[in-house]
Amino acid sequence: MAWDISHLQALEAESLHIIREVASEFQRPVMLYSIGKDSSVMLRLAQKAFYPGPIPFPLLHVDTSYKFKEMIEFRDKMAASVGARLIVSSNQKALDEGANPFRLGTERCCGLLKTQALLDGLRAGNYDAAFGGARRDEEKSRAKERVYSFRDTLGQWDPKNQRPELWNIYNSRIEPGESIRVFPLSNWTEMDVWQYIHHEDIPIVPMYFAQEREVLVRGNSIIIPELAITQPRPDEKLQRMKVRMRSLGCSPCTGAIRSEADTLPKIIAELVAAKNSERENRVIDHDREGSMELKKREGYF
C-alpha cells in the first residue's frame, strides 16, 4: 500500500488544521472575505474544516466601493450558499469626503479605504483573530510572515520581532485588544490555488475568465472602466479586446491582462507560461520599494 499523498492534499490538510485550531482557541474569530480566488479557496477549506457542521464564524468584507459589480454580486451569492453571516465594513467618512486613488494617490487611498476600514471592522466586531487569504508566494514581505501573524492593539505588524513558530504548534496567546491575523494559505502558490479550484470545482468570479470587453489602455495598465472615476479622459478612447483578471482588487488599481484563457485549464496553461508575478498588475504594490511591508506594518492584511 502506498501512503503518498498529493501536493494539494498535503496543503489542504495543513490548512484545515490551522482553521480548526483558530476556531477552537480564539473567542471571536472572523474570516476576511475578499471575493478573489484565494478567498474562494479559503471559504471552501472552512466548509471542509467543520463539516458536517456549519462554519462557526462570520465573514468580513472590506468594501472600498471601488470593487467590480460582478464581485459584489458574487459575494452575496456565495455567503448565502455557504450559510455564513456576512459583515461589510467601509470607511464611509472617507468615501463621503470623496476618497479615491486619483485624488489621494494609491497609498493614501488604500490606507483609508482598506486598512482603516479593516481595522474599524475588526474593532467593531471585537474580533481577536482574523483569517486572511494571503499567500507567501505573492510578494517578498509576505514571504516573511508567520501563519499566525501577531498584531498589537493598533493592528500593526512588527516584522523584526515575530514570534518563533515551530512545527504546526501555534502560539495563540494575546492580551485584550491585541489580535492575530491568520494565513491558512501561507504555503499555497498561485498555481496550487488554480489547480485546487479546478480539482474541487470551486466557484469563482467570472472576471477571471477571458472575455471581450471595452477597456481603457493607460500606460502599462488595462483598465475596465466601470466607474465614474475610470472613464476615459478626453484624449483617451476605449478599445475592445479579450481580457481577464489575474488578481481581483479595486477596479481603478487592478489591471486586466490580455488573454485567451476562458476556461480553467487554459488559465492554468497561461500560468505555466507566465513571465511575471500576479501582483504585477496591482498599482498599489509598486508605489515604492517595500510598500507592501509598510502597509502591513500599519495594519494592512
Binding site: W3, D4, S6, H7, L8, Q9, E12, A13, L16, H17, R20, E21, S24, K48, A49, F50, Y51, P52, G53, P54, R136, D137, K140, S141, A143, K144, P159, R163, P164, E165, L166, W167, I169, Y170, N187, M191, Q195, V217, N220, G255, I257, R258, S259, E260, A261, P265, I268, A269, E270, V272, A273, A274, K275, N276, S277, E280, N281, E289, G290, E293
Partner: protein, 477 residues
C-alpha cells in the same frame, strides 16, 4: 506595452497531461542553515533563478549595479536590504519537472537563531553552508546541532564560495574532513558534501566545469532525488482532538489532523485522558467518508461508543502514548529573558495548552564540544535538557520516534512570548530518583541520538564529561 500574458501555444500544450504530472509530484520542504554571510540567500536566489522559480518582475527588482543580487530574491524586508543580512525566515516555492519544493531561507546571525529554528522545524532536508574562504564557525556548528535536534532526516553540506579559493579541491576536502566527524557525533551519518559557488552557479543546478575533480551531484540533483518517504505513516496512529464537531443531536465527531499512522473504520482506539476504548465508526470528510486515512490528513472521526472526549485529548491506536505530567526534554531557548524556574509558563503540546513549570535544568550543551555543562538556567539561543512539569498530563511519544507527539513549545505567561521549543526525551519520574537511574539517563542524553557512546578519546576529557554529569546529579540530589 500593456501587460500581456505569456504566450502559450495552447495547441501544443496538453493541460490534462500537465495536471496529471503535477498530481504525481511529491513535495519536499527544505531549509538553509549556516553562519551569517555564508551565502544562504544567494544560493536560494540562484536556485530560484536557474530553476525558473522567480518571475521576471521579481528579478528586475533584485538588480543592483547592473547585476542580479540573488540574495534580494529572498531578503524581503527593508531592514534586511539595508543591512545586507537576513533577519527572518523567508519561504519560497518552486517546482521542477520532478518535484515541488517549499524552501525556508533562514538567517545565519546568532541573534536570530529562533527564526532559523522556525524555518528548520518543518524541513525534511537542510542545506548547511560553509564558507570555503572562512571555514567552520561556531554558528555553523550551532545550526548543524539544531538541525539534528529537530530531527531533519537529510543534510547537504554545501561548501560555498569556491570561486574565492580558486576552486581548490584541497580546501573542500579539508573542510569536509573537519566537519564530517562533528556531524557524526550529532548522529548525522548521511550528510552529502558539495563544493559550490552560489554566486557563479557552480554545482548548484548543473555540475561545474570549474571543478572537474568533483565526481558527485549538484545541489538540485540531490534535492530532486532524496527519498521523502513519510516516516510518520509507519508510526502508531495518533490524533490530537482539535475540536468536537456537533452540528445536531445525531452527530458527534472528533476533528483533528492525523499526527502519525493509519486508521480504518472498525479499528480499536484509545482516548486519553479518559482511558476509555472504543471503535472507529466513520472517517468523515466533506468529500465523503474514507475507508482508510493516514498522516498527515485532517479528518473527523466518529466512534461506536459515547465516551467523553474534548479538545486536547489524544486518540490513538496500537502501543499507548506515554502519559505523564513530568517530562524530560531538550529545549532550545529563544527568549531574551533567560529560563527562570520560578516563572510561570504554558506548554502547548499537540492540541492542548497547560500551565507548566521548569523543575530543573539538568544541563546545558556546549555547541562547540557537545559537552554537558551544569547550569541553573538557559539563556537565549542555548540548548539544554530540562525537567518540566505540566498541570495536566501530556500524551506523547519521544520526539525522535514521533515528531508530531514529541514536540512542544513553551510560552511565557506574562509576556505571551514563545520562549522555547521542546523535544520530549522521556517521562520524568517525579520524586526522588536513584542516582544510578539518573546517571544512566544523563549519559544517554549526553551521547547524541543515534551515535555510539563516543566519549572523548583523551582520558582527561572523558573523565571531565562524566565528572560534569555527576556534578549535575549531585546538585539536584
Amino acid at each position: 506595452m500593456p501587460a500581456v500574458a505569456g504566450v502559450v501555444d495552447l495547441t501544443r500544450f496538453d493541460v490534462e497531461e500537465f495536471l496529471r504530472g503535477e498530481e504525481s509530484k511529491d513535495l519536499l520542504r527544505f531549509t538553509t542553515a549556516g553562519s551569517v554571510d555564508d551565502g544562504k540567500s544567494t544560493l536560494i536566489g540562484r536556485l530560484l533563478h536557474d530553476a525558473k522559480g522567480a518571475y521576471e518582475d521579481q528579478l528586475k527588482q533584485a538588480i543592483r549595479g547592473g547585476e542580479i543580487d540573488f540574495s534580494l530574491l529572498t531578503d524581503g524586508l527593508r531592514a534586511e536590504r539595508e543591512q545586507g543580512i537576513t533577519i527572518d525566515v523567508a519561504y519560497r516555492y518552486f517546482s521542477t519537472p520532478k518535484r515541488k519544493f517549499i524552501l525556508a531561507d533562514t538567517p545565519g546571525h546568532e541573534q536570530y537563531t529562533r527564526n532559523m529554528a522556525t524555518g528548520a522545524s518543518t524541513a525534511e532536508l537542510a542545506i548547511i553552508l560553509l564558507d570555503a574562504s572562512r571555514g567552520i564557525t561556531t554558528q555553523s556548528m550551532r545550526h548543524a546541532y539544531i538541525a539534528s535536534l529537530l530531527g531533519i532526516p537529510h543534510i547537504i553540506v554545501a561548501v560555498n564560495k569556491m570561486d574565492l579559493v580558486n576552486y581548490d579541491q584541497e580546501i573542500f576536502q579539508r573542510l569536509r574532513a573537519e566537519f564530517a566527524p562533528f556531524l557524526t557525533r550529532l548522529g548525522v551519518n548521511n550528510a552529502y558534501f558539495v563544493p559550490i559557488s552560489a554566486l557563479k552557479g557552480d554545482n548548484v543546478v548543473d555540475l561545474s566545469k570549474n571543478m572537474p575533480w568533483f565526481d558527485g551531484h549538484s545541489v538540485l540533483h540531490q534535492l530532486e532525488t532524496v527519498n521523502t518517504k513519510l516516516a510518520t505513516v509507519e508510526a502508531p496512529f495518533r490524533m490530537a482532538v482539535q475540536r468536537v464537531v456537533r452540528p445536531d443531536m445525531t452527530f458527534r465527531g472528533y476533528a483533528g489532523q492525523i499526527l502519525s499512522g493509519v486508521i480504518r473504520p472498525g479499528d480499536e482506539v484509545l482516548a486519553q485522558p479518559s482511558g476509555r476504548r472504543s471503535r472507529v465508526e466513520r472517517i468523515v470528510t466533506y468529500d465523503g467518508d474514507l475507508k482508510v486515512a493516514h498522516a498527515p490528513l485532517s479528518i473527523t472521526l466518529t466512534l461506536a461508543d459515547e465516551i467523553d472526549i474534548s479538545r486536547g485529548d489524544m486518540i490513538s491506536a496500537g502501543p499507548e502514548p506515554a502519559s505523564s505530567r513530568s517530562i524530560e526534554a531538550t529545549m532550545v531557548w529563544f527568549n531574551a529573558q533567560p529560563l527562570d524556574p520560578a516563572r510561570h509558563y504554558l506548554v502547548k503540546h499537540a492540541s492542548q495548552m497547560a500551565p507548566a513549570r521548569v523543575e530543573a535544568v539538568e544541563y546545558r550543551i556546549d555547541v562547540n564540544t557537545l559537552h554537558a555543562e551544569p547550569v541553573t538556567s538557559l539563556a537565549m539561543n542555548e540548548v539544554g535538557v530540562v525537567r518540566l512539569t505540566a498541570a495536566r498530563p501530556l500524551f506523547f511519544d519521544p520526539y525522535r520516534e514521533n515528531r508530531g507527539t514529541g514536540a512542544f513549545i513553551l510560552i511565557d505567561r506574562q509576556t505571551n512570548a514563545t520562549a522555547a521549543a521542546g523535544m520530549i526525551v522521556a517521562a520524568a519520574e517525579t520524586g526522588l530518583e536513584s542516582a544510578a537511574d539518573r546517571l544512566a539517563r544523563l549519559v544517554r542524553a549526553v551521547v547524541p541520538q543515534g551515535a555510539h557512546l563516543n566519549l572523548p578519546d583523551e582520558d582527561e576529557e572523558a573523565v571531565a564529561v562524566v565528572r560534569d554529569a555527576l556534578k549535575g546529579i549531585l546538585r539536584h540530589a
